[in-house]
């Protein structure tokens, strides 16, 4: 297999190597990147200044891809097919891919060397450092990136000016009318806009410190930081020096297959000049990466140019532009008071939609963009208000729905029709639509709703309701038994799907013993025997070890119990100890010993809180900033026994080094100097996912309240077996909605959620202690009802590494 070398490790390079791997490329892949870290989400760069960590933004290096980081490629030897690096290394290639992106353009004005740019993590670190002690800043450039940079300066507490050459802001996305409305919004936020102005010089003091920026008319803007964001230039210097064709105004010339004038060299992303155009948006860059990956593997994919439509939210203002920015006819809506401007361009026969501009309300964007070049789907005046529910439109199959990943309405419909997809996460997994900027998710929902698929939410043949609906029925009607529920709201006598679900809801709402009365018959075998069934019908036993902290004496008890009952012992990933091989009739005896020694159920068998892992934190670790163990224990004790739609895991790390792996948990906490950051929606397992930042720098009290509500809202509204990540993804409005409900109490639910959690905490009792104290419950822990003393003869063990192991009986 051949060796592919990629120069540059930005988002495009990342997408390219991912695509190569996904398509089964088996050769060697080496990525050489000048930045000292793997690729990260540049689109979300600004969030680095507002709380996101580097880890939040960084992409995972795909398996099997070699990287040389902090290494600049300095030359290409096309004859020898090698590249050389700044460190003097020579790396051979069969296929070379240039993904070197672009560099900010810095106009050659006096003092420009003292200005900053806004493109990389390092740039942001430098800006952050320089902002210390600064009061004012200027951003040169009022385009998309300039406004982002201005927002960042404002966020750092600076009085911020924006200097833009053109007569209005964002000249590439909006026209003069839109620019005026946009300016109103931005000035309303306290930024000053100097449109139609250039730069004479950057003024510095004797020590070379920036003191201001002089405009050509002589006026001086006081500033201690100047950031240039006045356009980008493709980084084509490697190609240029190697004699590969570059465009007159920059960019490595490529054909429709992303190949340069040297057939062994491809160029993709912002450094490429495709069809005479350089693309500065992730969508087209991703498409180029996919095309190149296909070509390297012998495919025939082509890059057909891309739609430069954009929709963004800058400084809280929605701005969108799609299709053409002019036309024979137009309809315009302008509301200077509300700060809304919308304009559609239409062909001279008033039949075809050519494009549009939105400022202040971009709702029509998602619906109308796919109609560009197509007959008007409704009266023009109505179209100005699409997306607000006023006009309903059916998209043609070929209409592009997701521009980041180039997915058409037809492809989404096909996923629904042929692959049986029934929800947005399914569409995302199947087509990638909606996975990048997310602005097309409302469209995906609409396509689903109109696809005619009956989205059955019935739990099983016995209930036509979803879990969340059953939860409400049980809560509102005060139902306390399964029999009552199924008699009035279901049919038949239930099954292994609805019974445990109802058991879990009853447990979440009323607490009480899971083996009490009729509830005993609802439980899965694990809950019924308060232990985890294993392949040979024996059970494993997991006592709770809150936060993973345990005294030597208790450790000894566990060891003695395991030895006396001949159990296999293993330390789990959740910082506790699992004892395997217990027969049903041994469980009460084992637990008697454990309970007497002060242990209680670890609920490893339940869809419930499992563990809150912790690192040693500030008590021992020299880096720790908070007591992570103390918090983990408190949280584990607070939520122990809480039944949920799926198991729940948590962890607490004592500092940003994250030794407890909190971000792989349903709710994870990472200590900060000021308090705690809460992350939600992470999990390991089949489809690992990092948790997202939910709230930062919380006090312990705020943290606990937030988690209380998060968990209760999840328990109330999630589907059966839906983990927190999938739940958040399935909710309309996603994480923002959840935050709104929990932090801003947008549904007025918080008092109820708080009360429910308080009920759980005060009524909690240890299930195992209650069981061994109740002869009636104990009587079920027998091997044979007519021979309780006889152990099940079919359970046999052999030995391996000095412990027992089930003997495999083939059925």
């Amino acid at each position: 297999m051949s060796r592919v070398v990629v120069a540059g490790y930005g988002p495009t390079a990342h997408r390219f190597v991912e695509a190569l791997r996904e398509r089964g490329f088996g050769g060697r892949i080496t990525v050489i990147g000048e930045e000292p870290r793997p690729a990260y989400d540049r689109v979300a760069l600004t969030s680095y200044l507002t709380g996101a960590s580097l880890a939040d933004l960084t992409y995972e290096v795909p398996e099997g891809v070699e990287t040389l980081l902090g290494t600049r490629v300095t030359g290409i030897d096309r004859q020898a097919r090698t590249v050389t690096t700044a460190g003097g290394a020579t790396v051979p290639y069969d296929v070379l891919v240039l993904a070197t992106g672009s560099a900010p353009f810095v106009p050659p004005v006096p003092g420009a060397e003292h200005a900053h740019v806004y493109r990389t993590i390092d740039d942001l670190d430098a800006i952050r450092e320089a902002s210390d002690g600064a009061a004012e800043g200027v951003v040169v450039g009022g385009g998309l990136l300039g406004l982002e940079a201005a927002d960042a300066l404002r966020g750092l507490g600076l009085r911020t000016h924006i200097v833009e050459m053109s007569p209005w802001l964002m000249p590439r996305q909006v026209d003069e009318g839109g620019g005026a409305v946009l300016k109103g919004h931005i000035e309303g936020l306290g930024l000053s806009v100097h449109a139609g102005a250039g730069v004479q010089e950057i003024v510095t003091d004797a020590e070379g410190r920036v003191t201001g920026l002089r405009k050509p008319d002589g006026t001086l803007l006081d500033a201690q930081i100047v950031v240039f964001s006045a356009g980008i230039r493709p980084r084509d210097e490697l190609a240029r020096a190697a004699g590969i064709d570059v465009g007159e105004r920059g960019g490595v010339v490529v054909d429709a297959g992303m190949r340069t004038s040297d057939p062994a060299v491809y160029a993709i992303g912002e450094c490429a000049l495709a069809g005479g155009q350089v693309y500065g948006l992730v969508g087209p860059c991703n498409t180029m990466a996919e095309v190149a990956a296909d070509r390297v593997l012998g495919g025939t994919a082509v890059f057909e140019g891309a739609d430069l439509s954009t929709k963004l939210k800058l400084l809280g203002v929605e701005v969108a532009q799609f299709g053409a920015m002019s036309g024979a006819l137009d309809v315009t809506y302008m509301d200077p008071v509300g700060g809304v401007y919308k304009r559609l361009f239409i062909s001279d026969d008033a039949r075809t939609l050519l494009g549009g501009i939105c400022v202040g309300d971009a709702a029509p964007y998602a619906t109308l963009r796919p109609f560009v070049g197509k007959p008007l789907p409704a009266a023009p005046a109505d179209l100005l208000f699409t997306g607000t529910g006023a006009a309903d439109l059916d998209l043609p199959d070929e209409a592009q729905v997701c521009s980041c990943n180039n997915v058409s309405a037809g492809a989404v419909r096909a996923a629904v029709a042929d692959k049986g997809v029934t929800d947005v996460p399914g569409i995302k997994a199947c087509t990638r639509a909606g996975t990048t900027c997310g602005s097309c998710v409302p469209m995906l929902k609409q396509l689903l709703e109109r696809s005619g698929v009956e989205l059955s939410k019935a739990l099983c043949e016995h209930f036509t309701y979803s879990r969340a609906e059953l939860f409400d029925i049980i809560r509102v009607r005060g139902v306390t038994t399964f029999s009552e529920l199924i008699a009035h709201h279901g049919t038949g006598r239930g099954c292994d799907i609805c019974k445990p679900t109802v058991a879990s809801i009853l447990a979440s709402l009323h607490n009480g013993h899971v083996l009490e009365g009729e509830r005993a018959a609802l439980q899965d075998t694990n809950d019924a025997y308060l232990a985890n069934i294993q392949k040979n019908g024996t059970y494993s036993v997991v006592p709770r070890i809150p936060g993973g902290e345990i005294t030597p004496d208790k450790l000894i008890v566990i060891g003695e119990v395991a030895r006396d009952f001949g159990l296999y012992t293993k330390i789990t990933g959740g910082q506790r100890i699992d004892l395997f091989g217990a027969r049903v009739e041994q469980l009460p005896q084992i637990w008697k010993r454990l309970v007497d020694a002060g242990f209680e159920s670890g609920h490893a068998y339940g869809k419930a809180l499992r563990t809150v892992k912790s690192c040693v934190g500030s008590t021992w670790c020299r880096y720790g900033v908070q007591d992570s163990v103390g918090l983990a224990i408190a949280l584990e004790l607070r939520y122990r026994g809480l039944r949920a739609p799926h198991k729940l895991k948590s962890a607490v790390s004592g500092c940003a080094r994250e030794c407890a792996e909190a971000r792989s948990k349903d709710f994870g906490i990472i200590a900060t100097e000021q308090g705690w950051n809460l992350y939600v929606g992470g999990n390991g397992g089949f489809k690992p996912r990092h948790a997202d930042l939910f709230a930062s720098d919380l006090s312990t009290e705020e943290l606990v309240r937030t988690i209380d509500r998060f968990l209760m809202y999840y328990i109330r509204t999630a589907d059966r077996l839906q983990r927190t990540a999938a739940w958040i993804e399935s909710i309309e409005g996603g994480l923002d909605h959840v935050r709104d409900v929990i932090v801003n109490d947008s549904l007025g639910l918080c008092a109820e959620l708080d009360a429910q959690m308080a009920h759980h905490v005060t009524t909690y009792e240890d299930e195992w202690r209650a069981t061994i104290e109740d002869p009636e419950k104990l009587s079920r822990f027998v091997s044979f009802v007519n021979a309780p003393g006889v152990p099940d003869p079919s359970i046999v063990f052999e030995r391996e590494r000095d412990q027992i192991k089930p003997m495999v009986v083939t059925p």
Binding site: G492, R493, C495, D496, N536, G537, F784, V790, S794
Partner: protein, 134 residues
């Protein structure tokens, strides 16, 4: 209906000891038999061996109905078996043996039978005779 049964009835437990919709395991003629009391009060007996996993666990499964037929789901991999015929309703072809079961004087009795799967005709749990006792 009564079948010609080669084996004798074994008393396994008090009817009271059976919780509705929860099973127990009994040793009947050296075989492990899962005995269930369904919601309507009937008793059913099937083999305790889960043919999919090779573990003797069916008595610990969840009891329910499928289209009206009483069932139990294997606690290991959730395949559902009819309590009436022993047939696996998820995997055609698979089945577990059924045993006649009845309630006499408040006691549950199961008939041990050798070579059960070879019985001709569908094997009925004659114990569907509704409970006369308690």
């Amino acid at each position: 209906m009564t079948m010609t049964l080669p084996a004798t009835w074994t008393t396994v437990c008090d009817y009271h000891a059976l919780l509705p919709e929860r099973g127990v395991c009994a040793l009947v003629g050296g075989e492990q038999v899962a005995v269930f009391r369904t919601f309507d009060g009937a008793v059913h007996a099937i083999g305790n061996l889960d043919p999919f996993s090779g573990a003797h666990v069916l008595s610990r499964g969840i009891v329910g109905t499928r289209g009206g037929e009483p069932t139990v789901a294997s606690p290991l991999h959730k395949q559902v078996f009819s309590l009436v015929t022993g047939a696996c309703l998820d995997e055609p072809g698979a089945a577990v043996p059924t045993y006649p079961a009845r309630v006499v004087d408040g006691r549950v009795e199961v008939a041990a039978r050798a070579a059960l799967p070879e019985q001709d005709g569908p094997v009925h749990a004659s114990g569907r005779s509704l409970v006369d006792a308690p």
